[in-house]
Symmetry: C2
Subunit: 376 residues, 2 copies
C-alpha cells in the first residue's frame, strides 16, 4: 500500500500518481463515484467495472451503519463482499452526514449523539467507534472522525470546532494504531483538514493533520456553500502545507471545473454526487458543455446522447429518448444519465492525467474550462 | 408474417408455435415484458436482448401517445428507432388505459373522450385514429380499439359494451385495410374478445372476433378483479371458438400459475406488469416458490438471489444485498428484481415449450404449480 508520483506538471502543482491499494491500483488524479448506501445509484456493479472501468468507489459509513447495519456487513465479510465489488473502496467517517442529514444532534468532547434520518433512533459516534465501524466495513481507505462546520460559520466557533476535530484525530489515530483490520488486508487512515474559510485555521489544521503521519490526507468542509474563490484560496493554503509525497483527497468536490482547478493545486482524489444526482435531474456533462435534457430543444433531437462519449449509453440512446425518460421520471432515464455523467467524469480524469504527463495541463485546462461552462 | 404450430400437447390444448414477425421470430408460448412508456422499467435495452433474450416487448399506445407524443415517434422513424429496440413490438390499443388510468372520460358511438392522467388535457380516441396511432408507432402487432369493462359489470351493460366493441372493430378493421404501414414493414391487427364474465357474451364475442379474419386474436377484460375460476372458464369458452391455426393472446395475464393454466387452454401470448411491478416491491418469483425479499429472514442470507436463476443478477448479488436495496428504495434494487423476475418468466416460457414438445406438459404443470405457490 503506497503512493508513487509518476509525473509533475511543470506549470502548476498538478501531478499524476499511482495509489497501490489492497483492492487494486488506482491512477491519480482520480474521481470516485459515490456509492452512498452500498450502491452507486442506478448502476450495476458490472457496469461500474466493465463499462466505466471505475477502480475505486466511495461508501458512506453513516448510511451503511444505519442500513443494512454493521452486523450484517460483518457477517457478509465486509462491504466488498456484501455488494460484490472487488475493486477499491474508500469510506468517509460519517462526520459530514451527522451534521447535514441527521435529526437532532448533540456534540460533546466524547463524540456526536445524533438521531437517524430514517427512523429517529439515537446513535453515538466517537473517534474510536468510527474507526471500529470502518474496520468492519473494510474499506481500503478510511477517514478520521471530524466536525464538518457549516457555511457561514463564525471564526470563534470554527476555532473551537477545528480544535475538537484535532483532539478527535489524536484519539482516532491512537485507536487506529491499536486495532487490527477485521479482514485479511491492511487499511489506511486519512485525517481530515477542517477550519472553515479561515486561512489561519486551515493552516493550523493542515499542519496538525500532516503531523499525524498517516498515509494520506483529506480536506473537508469545503463546497458547503462558500464562494468558489474562498474554496480555491483554502485549497491553495492547504496543499502548500500538506507533504507532496502523500495523496490529497478533496472531499465532496465538485463540478468538472472545480476538479480542473483543484488538480492544478495538487489535489489527487475527488468524490461528488454531482454526476449521479444532477444526472437523475437531467443535467448532462459533455466535453462540449452542459446539456439540460429537459429543455424543449432536445425533444426531437435523435442524435446520440453524446457523440464524443465513450459509454454504451452515449451511442445506444438518443437525446430525445433520454429526454422522454427523464420527463416521464422513468428509472431508465436515471440509469442512462448516471452512466453517461460518470463516463464523462472518468474520461475527464483520464484526460487530465494525459495532459499532466505531456506537460500541457495548464494550457489544456484553460481551453477545457471554457467548453465546460458552455450551455448547449 | 405468419404463425406455424410446431407441436401440440397430447393431453391439453397447449401448443408450441413460431410467430414470424417483421422484427424477428418469436417462439410461443411467449411472455412479452411490458414497456409501458417506451422502456421496460429499470432495464437497459442491451440487457433485454442480450441477458434476457427477449424477442418481443409490449408498448402502451395510450402512454406513448401522451408522452413523448406521436409526432416525436414519427420523426424518430417509429418506436423501434426511438427506443433503439430492433426486435418485435406489440402495442395495445389504449382501451384498457382509457378506462383504468384516464381522468374524466365519456364514451360515445364514435369513440372515447378522456383526460390525460398526466396533465388533464383532453383527447379523443376512435377505432380509426387508434389504428393511425399504432401505424405511426410502428409495432409489429397492433390491437383494435375496445371497451374494457370493469369487474363487476352487470350483464346488460356488458352486452351493450361488447356490441359497441364489435361495431368499433368493424370500423377499425376497415380502416386498417384501407391504410398502409408508415414504415417499410407490414403490421398485423389483432381484434380483442370482450364480454366480461358472461359465457354467452364471450361466445358471441369470440365468434365475432374470429369472423374478422385477422392474423391473430386477443382476449381482453380478464384479470380485472374477477375470481380466477371465472377467468379460466371464460378462457376455456373463448379458446374453443377461436381458430386453432392463429395465435391467441391473453392480455395482461398474469401470475406464473395463471400462465401455466392458460397455456393448457391453448393461449400462446402473454404480457403482464407483475414481474416488474411486483419485483420493484420486493416480490421475487423462483422455480422453488415466491420470496418476499423484505422479510426479515433474508437480512443476513448471503446466498445468491436465485441459485437456479439464469441471469447475471441471480449469481452476482445476494438476497441480503437485494433486501437492503429494496428496503432502502435504491434504484438498483428495482433493476435487480426486475431482471430476475423477467429472467424467471422467460425461463418458465422456455420450459413450457420444452414440456409441450416432450408431451409432458400436463404432468409437469401440476408439479410446477405446487412449487410456484410455495412461500419461501
Amino acid at each position: 500500500m503506497d503512493f508513487r508520483i509518476l509525473s509533475k506538471d511543470p506549470e502548476t502543482k498538478a501531478r499524476t500518481g499511482l495509489l497501490n491499494l489492497p483492492h487494486g491500483d488506482v491512477l491519480t488524479p482520480v474521481f470516485m463515484p459515490v456509492g452512498t448506501a452500498a450502491t452507486v445509484k442506478g448502476i450495476h456493479q458490472r457496469e461500474l467495472a466493465g463499462d466505466l472501468n471505475v477502480n475505486i468507489i466511495l461508501g458512506n459509513s453513516y448510511h451503511i451503519y444505519l442500513r443494512p447495519g454493521i452486523d450484517t456487513i460483518k457477517r457478509a465479510g465486509g462491504l466488498h463482499q456484501f455488494m460484490n465489488w472487488e475493486r477499491a473502496i474508500l469510506t468517509d467517517s460519517g462526520g459530514y452526514q451527522v451534521f447535514s442529514l441527521a435529526g437532532q444532534r448533540k456534540l460533546t468532547e466524547d463524540g456526536a449523539l445524533f438521531q437517524s434520518h430514517i427512523d429517529g433512533s439515537r446513535h453515538f459516534f466517537t473517534p474510536e467507534n468510527i474507526i471500529d465501524i470502518q474496520r468492519s466495513i473494510g474499506a481500503d481507505i478510511i477517514m478520521a472522525f471530524d466536525e464538518c462546520t457549516p457555511y457561514p460559520c463564525d471564526s470563534s466557533y470554527a476555532r473551537l470546532s477545528v480544535e475538537l476535530t484535532h483532539r478527535w484525530l489524536d484519539r482516532g489515530v491512537r485507536h487506529f494504531l491499536d486495532t487490527n483490520p477485521v479482514y485479511d488486508f491492511p487499511q489506511m487512515l486519512f485525517p481530515i483538514v477542517q477550519g472553515s474559510v479561515y486561512p489561519d485555521l486551515r493552516k493550523l489544521s493542515a499542519e496538525k493533520i500532516a503531523s499525524a503521519d498517516m498515509a494520506g490526507h483529506a480536506i473537508g468542509g469545503l463546497s458547503v456553500g462558500e464562494p468558489e474563490e474562498e474554496m480555491y484560496a483554502m485549497i491553495e493554503i492547504i496543499t502548500s502545507i500538506l507533504p507532496e509525497h502523500k495523496p490529497r483527497y478533496l472531499m465532496g468536490v465538485g463540478t468538472p471545473v472545480n476538479i480542473l482547478e483543484s488538480v492544478g493545486m495538487g489535489i489527487d482524489m475527488f468524490d461528488c454526487v454531482i454526476p449521479t444526482r444532477n444526472g437523475r435531474n437531467g443535467m448532462l456533462f459533455t466535453s462540449e458543455g452542459v446539456i439540460n435534457i429537459k429543455n424543449e430543444k432536445w425533444k426531437d433531437d435523435f442524435s446520440p446522447v453524446d457523440p464524443e462519449g465513450n459509454t454504451f449509453v452515449d451511442t445506444q440512446y438518443s437525446r430525445a429518448y433520454l429526454r422522454h425518460l427523464i420527463m416521464s421520471k422513468e428509472i431508465l432515464g436515471a440509469q442512462i444519465a448516471s452512466i453517461h455523467n460518470l463516463g464523462f467524469y472518468l474520461w475527464l480524469m483520464r484526460e487530465i492525467r494525459v495532459q499532466i504527463e505531456k506537460g500541457k495541463f495548464r494550457e489544456w485546462k484553460e481551453q477545457m474550462k471554457k467548453k465546460l461552462l458552455k450551455r448547449l
